[in-house]
């Protein structure tokens, strides 16, 4: 039964302002974190059930009447739900201390919970219009969360994101309308049948292009990435972690792959287009990250580069490539979430995001520095951390498919990644301590606890990667590779 993934955050969000009237901090903190802990445990349970019993199709009933609410939980959805819940819990724990200096904590939690409900609904939906609606739920909540601090740069970033996101949704909606006109259905499996029966109409290719542009904008793939550095660097740190760690993957990568691959398969050069977009994103993201002085902007550009790796792996289209892409999606969510949370701790302690003004902070903030090293090395792909295995799988898939040139570029870009992450470490944490920061101390307990949780996940996933791949990543990749034929069988079409 998958409905708690949507119902729990939505119901809690709707009563959160009332809870905020009773208790400004304690009850909102307690209830939100309990809800996230429940969602994480439930996603582990649901994932195990999916592994043992196959995809689960849940239909809603109301006093004996069947409602047209069908939630499909397969291996791919289970992996995404686990990712959302894990990062969500870390962000909620971190927010206990971090959001203290913002007003209206209950409203913040309400918006965060709605964003989670939106992402969970998107992941569990099998209907392209419902998917679009939940995409909007998550997007609207994220506009509010980015601008939550009410600073000028935050409002500007939120507006920029809103405008570009509206363009993305216009593309997506137009494509949905044309697909509906072509096939007479909004269900992914039925649309897939209709499109394959239409026998290669040019308009189907047009729809595919619109979906790639729309979801590509949401995923911030180059050249649709202009909004991301502003939005992700201006938002409060926990929200940057949610956006970079999860939202761009759910509303961009997940939606793109679910819709495009289910409907169109790997036909019409889709793989080549994705590989091209992937490699360009890897390079441009990495090169732009190198030139940044603002730590959050550097991390934001790094996200564009790492999304490129995921797209590249998906574009190869082989089982190994898809496996590597799924694993990198999961690993990047954890490591980038960790790094954004650490950047928030640095900003809160020093009042700046500029690397030039930091230096030697490892002595004052050992937990933040230590976990930052783990996160940086994980994303850069240093063994035995989790990011190493996922990048290795993507590179092996490229070599196996005889894309030697792309494999070489991706490997060299990995060195660039290591370079700019070492720059962050050296300029922020090592070297001589800037005297201005003599008074600062380590981040408060819950902020440190949440980053330790994610850093431990980076190490453990790296060390136990065969088990993680077998239990979580392979079922997701198998579901993805097989399209949703499994679901079609279950639904009885």
């Amino acid at each position: 039964m998958s409905i708690p993934f949507i119902a729990v955050p939505l119901i809690l969000a709707s009563i959160m302002p009332l809870i905020g009237k009773i208790s400004k901090r304690f009850l909102p903190d307690l209830l939100t974190n309990t809800a996230f802990l429940f969602l994480l445990l439930y996603s582990v349970f649901a994932g195990r059930q999916t592994l043992l019993n196959g995809a689960d199709v849940w239909k809603a009933w109301w006093f004996g009447e069947a409602l047209n609410i069908t939630l499909v939980l397969d291996g791919f959805s289970a992996l995404m739900l686990l990712t959302i819940s894990l990062i969500g819990l870390s962000v909620a724990l971190y927010s206990i201390n971090y959001m203290e200096h913002y007003e209206a904590k209950a409203n913040f939690y309400a918006l965060l919970l709605i964003m989670i409900a939106g992402m969970n609904g998107l992941v569990l939906s099998n209907d392209v219009f419902t998917l679009y609606l939940f995409l909007e739920v998550a997007a609207i909540a994220s506009y509010g969360l980015i601008a939550f601090g009410l600073q000028r740069d935050q409002l500007e970033a939120s507006l920029k994101y809103l405008l570009l996101s509206s363009v993305a949704t216009a593309f997506i909606l137009l494509s949905i309308a044309i697909v509906f006109g072509l096939t007479g259905s909004l269900q992914l499996d039925k649309i897939a049948e209709g499109i394959s029966a239409s026998n290669g109409l040019p308009v189907a290719g047009f729809c595919m292009a619109l979906f790639i542009m729309g979801f590509g904008l949401k995923a911030a793939i180059v050249p649709f990435h202009a909004w991301l550095p502003d939005a992700h660097s201006s938002a409060p740190a926990p929200i940057s972690a949610m956006l970079s760690g999860v939202l761009i993957k759910v509303s961009g990568i997940y939606a793109l792959t679910r819709v495009c691959f289910t409907i169109f398969g790997m036909q019409g050069g889709l793989g080549q287009v994705l590989m091209l977009l992937g490699i360009v994103s890897i390079l441009i993201g990495a090169i732009q990250a190198l030139g940044q002085n603002d730590i959050k902007r550097m991390l934001a550009f790094s996200s564009i580069s790492q999304i490129g790796y995921i797209i590249l792996g998906l574009g190869v289209g082989t089982p190994l490539g898809i496996l590597g892409a799924m694993f990198h999606l999961f690993n990047h969510a954890i490591a980038k979430g960790l790094l954004f949370l650490n950047s928030g701790a640095l900003e809160q302690a020093t009042g700046t995001r500029e690397l030039d003004r930091m230096g030697g902070l490892a002595r004052k903030m050992p937990i933040t520095a230590g976990t930052s090293v783990v996160g940086s090395l994980a994303i850069a792909g240093v063994p035995p951390l989790n990011g190493f295995w996922s990048k290795l799988l993507i590179l092996l898939a490229l070599v196996e498919a005889k894309y030697y040139g792309l494999a070489l570029i991706a490997a060299l870009a990995g060195i660039l990644t290591l370079w700019y992450y070492l720059i962050i470490q050296r300029r922020a944490f090592f070297g001589k301590l800037n005297e201005t920061w003599n008074h600062i101390t380590e981040a408060p307990f819950w902020m440190s606890f949440s980053v330790l949780l994610l850093a431990t996940a980076c190490v453990l996933i790296g060390l136990l990667f065969p088990a993680v791949i077998l239990d979580w990543i392979k079922p997701a990749a198998d579901t993805f590779a097989a399209g949703i034929s499994q679901t079609i069988g279950l639904l009885g079409f």
């Binding site: 409602l67 047209n68 309400a110 609904g121 209907d127 219009f129 609207i140 006109g181 007479g184 259905s185």
Partner: protein, 158 residues
């Protein structure tokens, strides 16, 4: 009947553009959406009608009105006369393109598979698209909380 609905749609759309009062413009836009939804129902596109009436006429109008009611009324902006002349020209251009291009496109569409998911409003809205209602409730909540969060300083000052 079609002509009457179309005229209502065009009239409301023009009013939405020309009203300088944001509240009146938002209500005119909602009126245009209702007319558009009726046109869609009349032409048998029940699904599109349901989406139009529930998302645009209902939900977006609520958000518009909520936001407008929270903003301060400032002095009327100066209207550029050129912009006022530009709109009728763009409108006429749009009608010409519509007649010349879209009519051909619609002829092509008629040869494609007709929509399979049809039904009366109640069936489609309550029976066929129940899950969308959950998402729409979530969108309304998101919009309301965004307004509460982003206007919190203003309400605190007052």
């Amino acid at each position: 009947m079609h002509i009457f609905l179309l005229l209502g749609l065009v009239l409301c759309s023009i009013l939405a553009v020309f009203f300088s009062d944001l509240l009146k413009a938002a209500i005119s836009l909602a009126g245009a959406s209702v007319f558009l939804a009726l046109v869609l129902f009349e032409m048998g596109a029940t699904y599109a009608g349901v989406f139009e009436i529930s998302v645009v006429a209902g939900l977006i109008t609520v958000l518009f009105i909520a936001t407008i009611s929270l903003t301060e009324k400032k002095e009327d902006a100066k209207h550029n006369k050129r912009m006022r002349l530009l709109f009728p020209l763009v409108f006429i251009g749009f009608i010409l393109i519509d007649v010349l291009v879209m009519s051909q496109y619609l002829v092509k569409l008629s040869s494609l598979a007709g929509p399979a998911e049809t039904g009366v409003f109640g069936q489609v809205f309550w029976g066929g698209r129940t899950f969308d209602l959950v998402a729409q409730i979530a969108i309304i909540l998101a919009g309301v909380f965004c307004v509460l969060a982003l206007f919190r300083k203003r309400s605190g000052d007052e």
